[in-house]
């Protein structure tokens, strides 16, 4: 490789020295002169009428500056937190969109709903005073699970949302599906739950609001994956602050997994309160608060049916899903179980007819929104579990059944029956790489060896596809998005040849400072240390949409390429002038601007200097400077895909599942930094394994109290829970519609892993006749499944 920091190089992450030595600057690290501290008074009830708030005693407590309530916000005409996606029900009616105020006004709708905020000189003083705020609650019965919330007579989360039904949506051709089922030789059916998860970013959410009385400018520093989106939503819809007077900064952010996409009430409260009290106001969540108030993920209950002909060819898929929205609509909540879920139900298969119905339900729980994978893991889990059931029932080998039904590479681009058009993908190739990698043929011998040690062994597949690189703005808009989904970039060469790149993407663990700099290093031959990546500050970067849905490189990277195209075009003109050659004769080779067929050449540094010190410059044709901006709106989604294979061993005495091997073969298109890609896959796999075996968010079904409110009960996967992963990728199927050919890798691991693990678990238990188990496959669930299916033990 010519350039050790160019495309394809495993450059070590430049940001790691900062993060690993504790030198990052996170929101809570930032302290301002005169800063005050906010602590929220939160509802201890899942559902209660707020009949009175007496803050008199709290106001007298030491250090207290203000106690503010929903009524104060109402007086100041603070608006509702907006929802960024509009879904229409089957009957054409718009989804129910009840108001979601930053601080509850008359009703608290989940445990942790903000009821008041105390602002004091110190955090401890604010906490002390928060205990003195007397809130009169009239407790109401709560609708906690989605199924119970849909039952007749269930308590209403919002009085004007009958049946707690937010929307009843569908996608696909019901008639075609019915017709196919009528012809089916075999139908596989499955009921399954995709459990609720707590996102658990390492850094809790935090927000710091400031107001400059002299200039009238507001600044919000916040733990966000998309500061411009927060500025737009909060400025325009909640607080009524015009963009030019509102700066939103998302500095170093310690993980998001989706949970930091959304505009949260705390951000609006500190921004509003900073002006009210005339001093900066900071709030930082404690971990217990994160459990209670970060938007949760998943929470689907589904029924699925797959129709096949006598040879196992898929004829049609029918899916009915109930999705829990929580108490209010979080920013992108309605899009997750619809356009990011049902559109992926074709998976890698050429199933000709698909019909999906999704009911979204309000409950007295914290809002549910995007969580790593966001809809796509739910789709993959459903399809891949159903395919495994189909293989078991038809007796067709599970790898063969998949291969038989794959969309062939020759059929690309492929229009699915659920609205997407896959551009590239060679699914059989992924499988061909995976099978020898995991020694599929040797499984029986390994199973026998496990059996000699008293262990059960299973192997499970997941062949996944996801729609990433979100999204063509016009398509998203037609589907209900209330925002564009392009990305911005600015590439600014400095006079001495170093470069600052401003990106609308946001890095909160993805390594953009490395990968994005590699793009510039490759293009212009600039050493990577001369490239600075700037993100996360609306006062510096052009309007950007941020990072989620594995979009940063595919969309944000493409915007950087577009800006670099402009830089190159201008640099060529300057070079032609400097080298006294025709512009058409200037070629860019290894980052140098060369007059074709000669040894006359300039570096980009030479050109940048002339651009800013334009003594020998075509001033009559060109403006000085070398600083270009671009916006890139994708033409299609990107479609990362792959084949994951997991092997587990189960101790039948205890039910403990051990993942003994995991191989991931992925097609991410072109890979810029293999080291970072591999790291993203590892992290994703651990998260997917976490869902399959460990993580489970449990609310008490009657009281709505969060039972898994700490790490004592909410089980996160740990390093010693997972094996050393085998990760492979190929670059034979680059994305056809973005300039880098990249597809995105951030969510893939999570999307494939849960299904692969559960398929392996069920396979291991199949000798007992177990056909399905819901996640997480905890030791007791596994043990109970064995016991249920063992006649002697069941009788015990």
């Amino acid at each position: 490789m010519a350039n050790p920091t160019g495309i394809g190089a495993s450059v070590r992450r430049r940001e790691d020295a900062r993060f690993l030595t504790g030198r990052g600057t996170y929101t809570d690290d930032i302290n301002r002169p005169g800063q005050t501290h906010a602590v929220f008074v939160r509802s201890p009830y899942a559902h209660a009428r707020i009949t009175g708030i007496d803050a008199a005693e709290a106001m007298r407590a030491p250090g207290v500056i203000a106690v503010l309530t929903g009524a104060d916000m109402e007086t100041d005409k603070v608006g509702s937190l907006p929802c960024g996606w509009l879904i229409h029900s089957k009957d054409g009616s718009p989804m129910k969109e009840p108001p979601h105020f930053p601080i509850a006004r008359d009703r608290a709708r989940y445990v942790g709903d903000a009821v008041a905020v105390v602002i004091a000189e110190t955090r401890e003083q604010a906490k002390d005073a928060a205990e003195l705020v007397m809130v009169d609650y009239e407790e109401l019965p709560a609708a906690v699970t989605s199924l119970k919330a849909l039952e007749g007579g269930a308590p209403l989360v919002h009085d004007d949302v009958g049946g707690n039904l937010c929307f009843d949506w569908h996608l696909g051709d019901a008639a075609a599906v019915d017709a196919a089922f009528a012809q089916a030789a075999h139908v596989a059916k499955l009921d399954l739950v995709n459990q609720r998860l707590v996102p658990n970013a390492m850094e809790p959410r935090a927000a710091l609001g400031e107001y400059d009385r002299a200039t009238g400018e507001h600044t919000l520093t916040t733990t966000s994956q998309n500061p411009h989106v927060i500025r737009l939503l909060m400025g325009a819809f909640v607080l009524g602050i015009p963009e030019h007077k509102l700066r939103v900064v998302a500095p170093d952010v310690g993980g998001g997994f989706g949970s930091k996409i959304f505009h949260y009430g705390e951000e609006a409260v500190v921004t509003w309160a900073a002006k009210k009290v005339g001093r900066p106001v900071k709030w930082t969540a404690e971990r217990s608060e994160s459990f209670l108030t970060d938007a949760h993920g998943r929470d689907h209950v589904s029924h699925a049916e797959l129709a096949m002909d006598k040879d196992g060819n898929f004829l049609a898929l029918r899916v009915a899903t109930i999705a829990n929205m929580g108490a209010y609509l979080s920013t992108f909540a309605p899009s997750i179980p619809t356009y990011l879920y049902a559109t992926l139900l074709a998976g890698q298969y050429k199933t000709p007819a698909i019909y999906a119905e999704v009911k979204a339900v309000f409950t007295n729980t914290v809002p549910v929104d995007a969580y790593r994978g966001a809809g796509r893991p739910e789709a993959c889990y459903l399809i891949e579990r159903l395919v495994e059931v189909a293989a078991a029932e038809t007796g067709i080998d599970k790898a063969e059944l998949r291969r038989r039904n794959f969309v062939p590479a020759s059929a690309m681009p492929y229009q699915t029956p659920v609205a997407l058009q896959y551009d590239t993908g060679d699914f059989a190739k992924n499988l061909d790489i995976a099978l020898p990698l995991v020694d599929y043929d040797g499984f029986a011998a390994r199973k026998a060896e496990s059996a000699r040690r008293g262990k059960l062994r299973g192997i499970g597949f997941a062949t996944y596809i996801e729609a990433c690189g979100i999204a063509p703005s016009n398509v998203a808009g037609a589907l209900g998005a209330r925002a564009g989904l392009y990305e911005s970039a600015e590439v600014r060469f400095h006079p001495t040849g170093s470069v600052t790149v401003f990106t609308g993407s946001h890095s909160h663990g993805q390594g953009h400072e490395t990968t994005f700099a590699q793009l510039v290093s490759e293009r212009f031959g600039v050493p990577i240390e001369n490239v600075e990546i700037v993100h996360g500050d609306t006062s510096k970067i052009p309007f950007g949409m941020g990072t989620y849905g594995s979009r940063s490189l595919a969309v944000g990277g493409s915007a950087i390429v577009k800006a670099m195209d402009k830089v190159e075009r201008k640099a060529k003109k300057i070079a032609a002038h400097m080298l006294e050659a025709a512009e058409a004769d200037i070629e860019v080779k290894d980052g140098r601007f060369v007059v074709a067929g000669t040894d006359k050449a300039l570096t980009i540094g030479d050109i940048a200097l002339q651009a800013y010190v334009p003594h020998n410059f075509p001033l009559d044709e060109l403006e000085p400077g070398l600083d270009e901006q671009a916006f890139y709106d994708p033409k299609n989604f990107t479609y990362p895909n792959g084949c994951h294979v997991c092997e587990v061993e189960i101790d039948p005495d205890t039910g403990v599942v051990q993942v003994v091997s995991f191989a991931a073969v992925d097609d991410f298109g072109r890979v810029i930094n293999p080291l970072i890609v591999e790291g993203q896959v590892h992290g994703g796999l651990v998260q997917g394994i976490g869902q399959a075996l460990y993580e489970n968010c449990v609310y008490d079904e009657e009281s709505g109290q969060l039972i898994t409110g700490s790490y004592m009960d909410y089980c996160m996967p740990r390093a010693d829970d997972v094996p050393s992963f085998t990760v492979r990728y190929h670059e034979d199927q680059p994305c056809t519609h973005n300039p880098l050919g990249v597809k995105g890798c951030g969510e893939a691991g999570t999307i494939g892993a849960s299904a692969a693990v559960m398929n392996a678990v069920v396979h291991a238990l199949s000798e007992y006749g177990v056909t399905h188990l819901d996640m997480p496959a905890t030791p007791e669930r596994v043990w109970q499944a064995i016991r249920r299916h063992t006649p002697a033990q069941a009788a015990e």
Partner: protein, 264 residues
């Protein structure tokens, strides 16, 4: 955390004197339960008396047919002590399995047994190894020390100074840990003293208990298979989102078998 006054006495006598002086004092061992409780504002002691600087509470000594372990000995010290590994290896192995490395580097033997968490590991060893709990004023038989969930025989203001464990002929501890917290969902300690076998169970019930049937079966025939007919009733066992009472009862037998097998 609410404000409190912090004290660090240099002797047990000073600690006892301090305890008598304040309205609602609390002794601080390794803080692995107390500090999270304080951070969550679930307790509001007026004074915290840190026992970490008292030499009498430190150290591991071989004496009187067993081991004496100072109350302020941290789990990691027990786990890594050559003396413990030589005299009662099962005790070292139990300590090595507590929580995680950070917990073991802070948590103490005295803190653990005084808190008497139903899912703590040490209570199983205290009862199985016929321990004697020494305090500032008396000795308490290990069998009598744990009186219920989070309850002990200690009087108000009584300070545990050390625990003397008797050396068994052989012993082993098998633990089924909670995957989230890594406390014991079920922990079974098996110890053999001549013809006597002790089988103690932690995690499964409100407090550590002896599995009488299993002890009798193993006294007759010290093999894992001897436990086939013995069981623990699920009645009265703990149940939570991680494990039902039935499952815990089942795990007691599985862990007992494993402990017996580990005794060699």
């Amino acid at each position: 955390m609410y404000a409190f006054t912090y004290h660090r006495p240099k002797s047990v006598a000073d600690a006892v004197a301090l305890l008598g002086q304040f309205e609602d004092p609390k002794l601080l061992g390794g803080g692995q339960t107390l500090l999270p409780t304080l951070k969550q504002r679930l307790a509001r002691p007026s004074d915290l008396i840190d026992l970490g600087q008292i030499p009498e509470l430190q150290g591991i000594r071989e004496e009187a047919g067993g081991l004496t372990v100072g109350a302020f000995t941290r789990h990691a010290e027990v786990a890594h002590s050559e003396t413990v590994q030589r005299v009662i290896p099962a005790l070292a192995s139990l300590a090595e399995g507590i929580g995680d490395r950070q917990v073991r580097n802070m948590g103490t033997l005295g803190g653990s047994i005084c808190n008497a968490d139903p899912s703590a590991d040490y209570p199983a060893a205290v009862v199985a190894l016929k321990a004697t709990v020494r305090t500032d004023r008396r000795e308490i038989a290990g069998d009598d020390f744990f009186t219920g969930m989070f309850e002990t025989a200690l009087e108000p203001g009584e300070i545990v100074t050390a625990v003397h464990f008797r050396t068994p002929d052989k012993a082993a501890y098998a633990k089924f840990r909670n995957p989230a917290s890594r406390y014991a969902i079920v922990g079974v300690f098996v110890a053999v003293f001549g013809s006597e076998v002790r089988v103690t169970v932690t995690g499964a019930g409100p407090s550590v208990f002896r599995a009488d049937d299993m002890e009798a079966a193993l006294a007759q025939d010290f093999r894992a298979d001897a436990l086939n007919g013995a069981s623990v009733s699920a009645d009265g066992l703990n149940a939570d989102i991680h494990a039902s009472a039935d499952y815990r009862a089942h795990l007691v037998r599985v862990m007992a078998r494993r402990a017996v097998e580990a005794c060699g």
